[in-house]
Subunit: 702 residues, 2 copies
């Protein structure tokens, strides 16, 4: 699936929206079945015992948590050796692979293999987090808004308190500190991460084998993808000692076996109210799909200009296509009357339980009406959120961040825009000063398209369109800004940031000029959404979260928030299109699918695989499925057995899982993983990478 | 799919109903696209020229027709050598394979291979027809019912005329002669067949490779089934000289290539009126599915008693499961609002065209109301048609035929029940005197179940139930009839038939006694259906058929009637469950699917395939799909290229094609075929059958 790419893409495209979209919700998900993305403080012990007769110890849970990593490009991973070796997906690594590539050395397409540690390649801007501790701070955050404050005042107070908590924590512990909203306001937690920024590329296979079957096979199964890559985490110039790493199981998991998935699901909306789902269905998905489809067409045009343009556009095309496929599945889910009826029934049952108790009705009863109002406003605000910005550009957001950084850092921490709080500045600068290359052709096309889309959608008289274009054509504005800017050079960006307001004021870099025009509109949109959506959702979301605990107790899990979660399930096939899908696939199937399409793209095989067939044991499992509950952001998550041994590597969900954004259906919702055995098989037999195979599996596991 | 098994099963279970169901209908199918099951007198020349730039000659059409055969067990086939060798499906041959098997030699399961002609095994009751000529006799049949006759009288007159035509033709030409109703009464044709009854088994592979994937994979694709078998046709103790045979193409058809399918589709209802479809949806399918499911459960119980019982029940279980899967798909199609809306719109457009022309409206305008009345009556009659008979037994219908034969053959030919006309007696006797074994355990269970079902459904006070059970338990009646009868011996049946009424009157064989009780009820039901359904449908169907020609001309094809048809299309994949299905599969995929289920049934491989893997070229295509328009009865049809060379062997449709009973959708409706290459590959490399491979492909095509 490459589902995490979705959250990855989303991060760059509409992070603000997503963050907001997560802030409230309502309905308890049924906690039966192999369902749930559980926080490590509240693992599903009851279900595990009842269904699988297994109870993980606290030591087991701590070990798995500390072996799990979050890649802030938008994915998950795990330590798989004592020397900082990290396993994740090729598609999670794809952005960094592209950033370290050149027109001459295209690692993203052809793969990369460091035969020695000296050859390992440092990634320009990859941050990697390990969750060290979790602290329940609900009382402190909830208490920060005094009785009697308006919704907007309460929201402001809560944001200020959050920034303060994060800053204090970072200063005290040196750890990255994030306040996390769970159960949509029912709980607030302080998560502390050890953050690594020296992450080096160790190994990646050819994209064509990592993403065999391309967009057609994406989000489907049976599947034959070797979607894996290895990084190594360094500190002070040396590989870190990763005491908590997952031992490699060379044989993997058998059909029916209990497995766990430890990773970072990005977004689910299972607790959304009906009103919110209707806005998603009627406004959010149609708008985003239209934007994405237009972008893919534009990028394909660019790619057709030549192989170098194609190389540069590859990651964005992948991201948009992946999002289109995922969003289409989710959208179809919301348009399915059965799904909506189920949601309607659940909500009615929940509201009835609340209404039947006078005290609950008094405290929580008005929450659904408030949320419905917020949803109505959101529908109105969406077009400004999406069209009063320069979507898909890399330089415009950098320029905007430079402009806003100067203005925001003058203010008290609690009053700043999100993203510019003291606790966030280190990470912001790491991204701002990234040495990753900027591609002028690509950049120009993306800026032009974003401006053209806004002009067409909002009309020439829209104040934003007027300000950004000043009556000129989008191509002209884009060309001038991209061709004239020096911001492609990270040193220039550093100079402007470190020079403070004066240096910035003196700059007439055309990209900075454009960002200055953009700045008031993003502030206006942010303020409008706070006033008309967020403040309502914050108040009502908290009520619904508390009602959830009052009515159902803490027997369920919160919606996904790109924080660490534990899912569980069994390796298991499922009913599919009239027959049954198997629990796993084998290398035989890889060759079958390639031959069955006569090697037509995207079903061609890398030369190594075409020529190396006879070296391989074709019965080696390639991919397998389990009932574990995942979503975008889980890409790269380890699949482990009861002994916390690594048996697989999540890289996708099946097409039937896309409706999982709203409702989990154990019958056919499946997580798709690379099998642990095939990684060893190809490392040893096709890639001449025995030392790497030995590092993860030991020399004996051949 | 084994779709023809459906019509095979249907023949034994509800032939009368199906025949009736075919008698009328209404709507013109769009003749664009690769759609249509075309009669050989009206091939789709326009479509072929426009879409594929190909025009078959009359010689081409005659050659293909004379190389095509109909197997009256319920399937299709083709001559593939000059020495009478016929290719069809293993599942079409399955019934005969079982009939020549013994507890010691289970050819149905383990396969059969005659290394010399002397070893070829004669089938007990297989009839094989080759269509020699087609004559349009619409004027004569339609003219047989004088103006002013009532519907019932007209039906009677038409049936008498039909019997007369068939008898005359048979006497004159010596050929089997059938009057065929096309376009639901718009045309009547006299089809004459050369019939062969000495058909011998030459080769069949193991059932497990012919039906790999079993019921789950049935009616799906991608697929990996070697569903083929060879017969040889004899006359006067020698193989026939089959001048018209299809040359074998060792390389098969490429993706995108034009192919044809020449075979005998059993039943489609594309021209049914909405009223008829609603009766099928609301009455026919729910009732049949319930009956079939109960039967499968019963037969599985019987199979569990031991391997010999399992062997005896295998063919019936396959037939019922196949029917359940096909009917479920068709039923879902009718329950799909989109399908019904499309039908509604088509019918409205057709009726408007008729209504807009005063003469047409006068001649045809009342047809839909009449059909609707007939449909309402059919809904009522269905339960008697299905529950006042002994469904699934072999001996009861034989006994009934003996009883009715004596009564009917005394009457003038035109007044007899269908099945007992002079032109039909030879075939009836061939079936009545078949030496195929009767299995007492199986027979007892089927009779018991049928009686029990009727008693439960109709109630103890129903006259039929009273007459058949006489107050006793179904098990008792079944046991007495089956254990006490001598009818299992074909010589006894012959004696009773040839002894005439006196011999029959003297018989107190308990199965004859039971059939005597059954006889009046089947006559009553037949009469009731003629009076209340058939006579209405015959009149109105003819009107609608004529309206069809008046409005649309003869630009389309008639619904399927188990007569020879030509379909055309391209080898082509299709969108499937979020991805695309390939145009073909390979032997790699066979091994993948077996391994991916850890060889669990029904995904186990015969030992020959487990051990023989290294002998095979795994890239050999196994199955492929094309857009050709087929349905049950087409099983065993040859797939040929422009040069009339055999490139494949139809054995199934995909799950998306089941709705094709009502509407053809070129996007994903696919015919599934065994590839010509894989048959040679396994014959030569796994079965030591080079002489057979040489006979079909020549010694050079290795």
């Amino acid at each position: 699936m490459n589902r995490n790419r979705r959250s990855n893409l989303m991060e760059s495209l509409c992070a603000a929206l997503l963050a907001l979209a997560l802030m409230c919700g309502t309905l308890p998900a049924a906690a039966g079945a192999d369902e749930g993305m559980w926080t490590f403080d509240n693992p599903p012990l009851k279900q595990l015992k009842e269904r699988y007769g297994f109870t993980p110890t606290q030591e087991w849970l701590d070990h798995v948590r500390l072996a799990s990593v979050r890649l802030n490009d938008g994915g998950s991973g795990s330590f798989v050796s004592a020397n900082g070796l990290v396993l994740t997906n090729h598609h999670v690594a794809f952005g960094q692979l592209q950033k370290v590539s050149t027109p001459e050395k295209d690692y993203a397409t052809h793969g990369f293999h460091a035969k020695t540690q000296a050859e390992e390649l440092r990634c320009p801007d990859l941050e990697l987090d390990v969750l060290q501790s979790m602290e329940n701070i609900t009382a402190r955050v909830a208490g920060s808004a005094r009785e009697g404050l308006s919704g907007q005042e309460a929201l402001k107070a809560r944001k200020a308190e959050t920034a303060k908590i994060e800053k204090e924590s970072k200063e005290t512990t040196g750890l990255e500190s994030e306040v996390v909203t769970l159960y949509h306001g029912g709980e607030y937690w302080l998560y502390r991460y050890k953050r690594y920024t020296d992450v080096r590329l160790v190994f990646a296979p050819e994209q064509q084998i990592a993403y065999f079957g391309g967009d057609p096979d994406n989000f489907t199964f049976p599947r034959y993808d070797l979607d894996f890559a290895f990084f190594r985490v360094y500190e002070n110039g040396k590989p870190v000692e990763s005491r908590h790493f997952l031992k490699w199981s060379a044989q993997g998991a058998a059909a029916g076996e209990l497995v766990f998935i430890s990773g970072h699901p990005g977004t689910t909306n299972r607790l959304h109210t009906l009103a919110q789902l209707e806005v998603q269905r009627d406004h959010f998905y149609p708008m985003l799909l239209k934007i994405f489809q237009r972008r893919v067409a534009t990028l394909r045009e660019l790619s057709a200009r030549g192989p170098e343009q194609a190389r540069q556009a590859a990651n964005l095309i992948f991201g948009y296509e992946n999002a289109i496929k995922a969003f289409t599945g989710e959208y179809q889910g919301l348009r399915n009357p059965e799904v909506m009826n189920k949601k309607r029934e659940e909500e009615a049952a929940f509201r009835k339980r609340v209404a039947d108790n006078a005290e609950w009705q008094q405290r929580f009863g008005d929450a659904w009406e408030i949320i419905a109002r917020a949803a109505k406003n959101r529908a109105e605000g969406l077009r400004y959120q999406h069209y009063r910005r320069v979507r898909g550009s890399r330089l415009v957001p950098l320029a905007l961040a430079i402009v806003q950084h100067a203005a925001e850092t003058k203010k008290p921490d609690g009053e700043r825009l999100d993203g510019y709080h003291d606790a966030q500045l280190e990470s912001l600068r790491f991204q701002l000063f990234s040495p990753a290359p900027v591609y002028a052709d690509l950049e120009e096309v993306m800026v032009r398209e974003a401006l053209a889309e806004s002009a067409e959608t909002l009309g020439a008289d829209d104040p934003y369109v007027k300000a950004m274009l000043g009556g000129r054509a989008p191509e002209e504005v884009a060309r001038e800004a991209v061709r004239g800017t020096k911001l492609g050079d990270p040193a220039v960006r550093r100079q402007l940031v470190e020079g403070g307001e004066a240096a910035l004021a003196a700059s007439n870099d055309p990209m900075i000029v454009l960002a200055r025009k953009l700045d008031p509109f993003t502030r206006q949109t942010t303020r409008w959404m706070e006033e008309n959506v967020e403040s309502l959702e914050a108040v009502a979301g908290e009520k619904i979260g508390q009602a959830l605990f009052a009515v159902y107790g803490k027997s369920h899990y919160p919606d996904a928030t790109f924080t660490l979660r534990l899912a569980f399930g069994a390796v298991k096939g499922y009913p599919m299109n009239g027959t049954i899908a198997p629990p796993k696939t084998t290398l035989y199937g890889l060759y079958d699918r390639a031959h069955s399409f006569d090697f037509e793209p995207p079903f061609q095989l890398p030369e190594r695989y075409r020529n190396g067939r006879d070296k391989l044991d074709l019965s080696t499992p390639v991919n397998f499925v389990s009932t574990g509950d995942i979503t975008g952001g889980n890409s790269g998550s380890p699949v482990i057995n009861r002994n916390a041994e690594l048996v697989g590597l999540i890289f996708d969900g099946n097409i039937e899982s896309l409706v999982g954004s709203f409702v989990f259906n154990e019958e056919n919702n499946r997580a798709v993983a690379v099998h642990s055995a095939v990684i060893l098989e190809v490392l040893r037999k096709l890639y001449d990478a025995a030392p790497l195979a030995d590092e993860i599996a030991g020399a004996s596991a051949r």
